[in-house]
Symmetry: C2
Subunit: 89 residues, 2 copies
DNA sequence: GATACGACTGGTATTACTATACCGGCAAGT
DNA sequence: ACTTGCCGGTATAGTAATACCAGTCGTATC
């Protein structure tokens, strides 16, 4: 085996992570935040919409910094330990 | 542009991250830890040696859990905010 | 000393995915 | 209508993740 496709669970995790990031960004301009984090706007948008389910570690760290969001939060969102119930939009 | 190669800084960051992981693993068997984290031993070895400078976010989260290492620590190692001086083996 | 065992290393190969860019479309605000 | 910002689709270079292999080092065992 070489590299099996992402499991649905990983895709789900990516979606949670993206939702968390989007919520943290709130009003700020997407392109602005992306630039501050050192990633392209396109990439950030795809992460937020869950189309990049498992971004690079550094990418997430930089985004967390740009958003003032602790990495721990993002890890929790990724694992799903974050929104135990139907929390939030 | 499509995806420019990793910058030397990113490679450096990957090396720091790998070193941190290796230190955290300490005595434990590499294969055992890798299995616990849900990654292949080969992959973990490459991360530890810095040959995978920018692993997936989920990969690092799982490894951190398997090693009992907070993600924040790993993020700090990645950024270099961790070992200000010549700290440690 | 030679052999064997165990764990780590560097190299190569392969597939799936990331990160980026460009496009046309759609909704809201001016 | 025009601009601004987000969206989904497509395309592409480069990487992640995995596997296999041969070589090395240290510790035993013979």
């Amino acid at each position: 085996m070489v590299r099996q496709p992402l499991t649905p669970e990983q895709v789900e995790a990516g979606r949670r992570l993206g939702a968390r990031l989007r919520r943290a960004r709130a009003g700020r301009d997407l392109a602005e935040v992306a630039h501050a984090a050192g990633v392209s706007p396109e990439t950030l948008r795809k992460i937020e919409t869950g189309r990049l389910p498992s971004p690079g570690f550094g990418t997430i760290v930089c985004l967390g910094e740009a958003l003032g969001l602790p990495v721990q939060e993002l890890a929790a969102a990724w694992r799903g330990d974050d929104l135990p119930l139907g929390a939030v939009s």
